[in-house]
């Protein structure tokens, strides 16, 4: 991404305006990616009630799956993309069915599941390292395009696609969770699993469904990231940390909340480097995370039902 193009001697109102818009666009691009990660993470968290950090691993593996279909198998890009999303969904289901469900049946607490998910994350990263090697891969599907200029800021067509497709998908997701029967059932399981069970809802089935949908979104995110950046075994870790932060800021049990939180994170990070060197980007997001954890742990959209925990 292009940023920090501040030249010391041309600070005028216009230059400031251009920087503002450039940072806004950069923030929206970063926010879109974070929001895709966070929405899947929060969907899985709310019905399963544990932190599925291996969600980052799903993104890494999905990116490599795309690379395999598109570059190694030589399939059409769009077909590869669809197959990637489907594979990501299947991967999510397998993680649920093969690792988490058996642990749950033995009465594992959320903390144990969290540790298991960190282990799974490391396993997936190393698996990719073993199969594909440590060197950076790239899809090279889109030729490097000259950026368009919008009010003095530069945005590439791909970045525009990232923003628009993310916003469309996320709005669709928010509607799905709010309005559809499956979406309400997911919210019911998130709210009270025991009551859901005695209302005839199979909570484990709904938890599995959340894994499938959440991971499929991660697959979609992996496609966009794979197009914009390089593919490497460690790419998932920083993404899940950002997605997690976005979800916490917005309220992790609320899907619209984690989307808003992620965009806020993307914007704050990018506007922060107006004042600070860009190396401080991660520091800015962690400060934001700590601020929320300390003063508003339920996040912006988290409902606390009038009870202080």
């Amino acid at each position: 991404m292009t940023q920090g193009r501040i030249s010391a001697n041309s600070i005028s109102v216009f230059a400031n305006m251009n920087i503002f818009i450039q940072l806004l666009i950069n923030g929206l691009i970063a926010g879109s990616i974070y929001a895709l990660v966070a929405s899947g993470f929060s969907l899985i968290y709310s019905t399963n009630r544990f932190m599925h950090f291996a969600h980052g691993g799903t993104i890494t593996v999905s990116a490599y799956i795309l690379l395999t279909f598109f570059k190694l198998a030589g399939l059409n890009f769009y077909l590869s993309a669809i197959l990637t999303v489907i594979s990501a969904g299947i991967l999510g289901y397998l993680m649920h069915a093969v690792l988490y469900m058996p642990l749950r049946k033995r009465g594992s607490s959320g903390a144990i599941l969290l540790i298991a998910s960190v282990g799974l994350m490391i396993l997936l990263e190393n698996l990719m390292l073993m199969i594909y090697g440590a060197d950076v891969k790239s899809l090279k599907f889109i030729k490097i395009a000259k950026g368009m200029e919008i009010w003095g800021a530069i945005i590439t067509p791909l970045q525009l696609v990232i923003i628009i497709s993310s916003v469309v998908l996320l709005i669709g997701m928010a509607f799905f969770v709010k309005k559809s029967k499956l979406g309400s059932t997911m919210r019911a399981v998130a709210d009270n699993p025991e009551l859901a069970e005695i209302s005839g809802i199979s909570t484990s089935k709904i938890q599995g469904m959340s894994f499938v949908i959440g991971s499929a979104i991660a697959g979609f995110a992996a496609i966009l990231i794979g197009l914009e950046q390089n593919i490497e075994p460690t790419m998932g870790l920083s993404l899940i940390i950002k997605g997690f932060t976005g979800a916490i800021i917005g309220g992790v049990t609320s899907l619209p909340g984690s989307i808003v939180g992620s965009y806020l994170l993307g914007l704050v990070e990018n506007f922060g480097i107006w004042y600070l060197p860009s190396g401080y980007k991660d520091a800015i997001s962690f400060v934001l995370l700590f601020v929320f954890l300390l003063w508003r742990p339920t996040g912006i959209f988290g409902i606390n039902k009038g009870i202080k925990k």
Binding site: S184, T185, R187, A188, A190, D191, N192, E194, L195, A196, E197, I198, S199, G200, I201, S202, I303, K305, G306
Partner: protein, 245 residues
């Protein structure tokens, strides 16, 4: 009694049940007759809630059998029980707090597929509890205690139950609301043609609306009688004043 010749809708024979290795119910035998209200009474820790939960397969049954309309439902999965027309309202106004009132009710009809039945049931529940219709777009947690209990019962009714299991519905409600609640339970019995098995500590109110009373002490059935007989008998005083050994 008018119903004594009818076949029971629910029959529990020699039930021993509890949680893991802790046995709570000992050789429980009861019959519940169709379209009656039966009250389960007993001091704290008598196993009233456990008995209700056992019917809904939420405890570990050690031995014995539970039959519903002459079919064994011991250890039957929850969604199967709901399909058979059994609904259970747990103790303590349990709702999906972060869902709206209407969504809560619709969750009660989760197993129903036919949209018309769901809509009809919703109308019937709103007729029974008009306040729920007024608040249908509000979050469940924003309702008052009495309304939350009505919502919990309304959700159970959405399943068109033939047998409704209510665990301490009057818990934590004001006397005025308790009176209202019992009127609703009477209504529900007639309007929804359902059988009600209710755990209650409000003995007088409960017995005045119920057809049968069951007294449970220490996990054993001490009495099972028509309510009018039970009110007159000494057993209530013995159990609840503490002179029972």
């Amino acid at each position: 009694m008018k119903n004594s010749k009818k076949d029971s809708i629910l029959k529990i024979s020699n039930l021993n049940a509890g949680y893991d290795s802790v046995q709570i119910l000992h050789d429980v035998n009861i019959d519940v007759y169709p379209e009656t209200i039966t009250t389960l009474m007993g001091p704290n820790g008598a196993g009233k809630s456990t008995l209700l939960k056992s019917i809904f397969n939420l405890t570990d049954v050690i031995s014995g059998e539970i039959t519903y309309n002459n079919e064994s439902i011991t250890n039957m999965a929850t969604h199967q029980l709901l399909k058979h027309g059994i609904s259970y309202v747990p103790q303590g106004k349990v709702n999906f707090d972060t869902l709206t009132v209407e969504r809560n009710l619709l969750m009660g009809a989760y197993r129903l597929k036919d949209k018309h039945t769901i809509k009809d049931n919703l109308i019937r529940v709103y007729d029974e509890f008009p306040v729920l219709e007024k608040k249908k777009n509000e979050y469940a947690f924003s309702l008052s205690g009495g309304q939350q209990q009505m919502l919990a019962m309304g959700r159970a009714l959405m399943n068109t139950p033939k047998l409704l299991l209510l665990d301490e519905p009057s818990l934590g409600l004001s006397p005025k609301l308790v009176k209202e609640l019992f009127e609703h339970i009477m209504d529900i019995k007639t309007n929804f043609q359902t059988t009600v098995l209710i755990v209650e500590h409000n003995l007088k109110s409960a017995l005045s609306i119920s057809d049968y009373g069951i007294v449970l002490v220490g996990g054993e059935v001490k009495a099972i009688q028509p309510s009018q007989d039970l009110i007159k008998s000494d057993i209530i005083r013995q159990v609840f004043v503490g002179s029972f050994d």
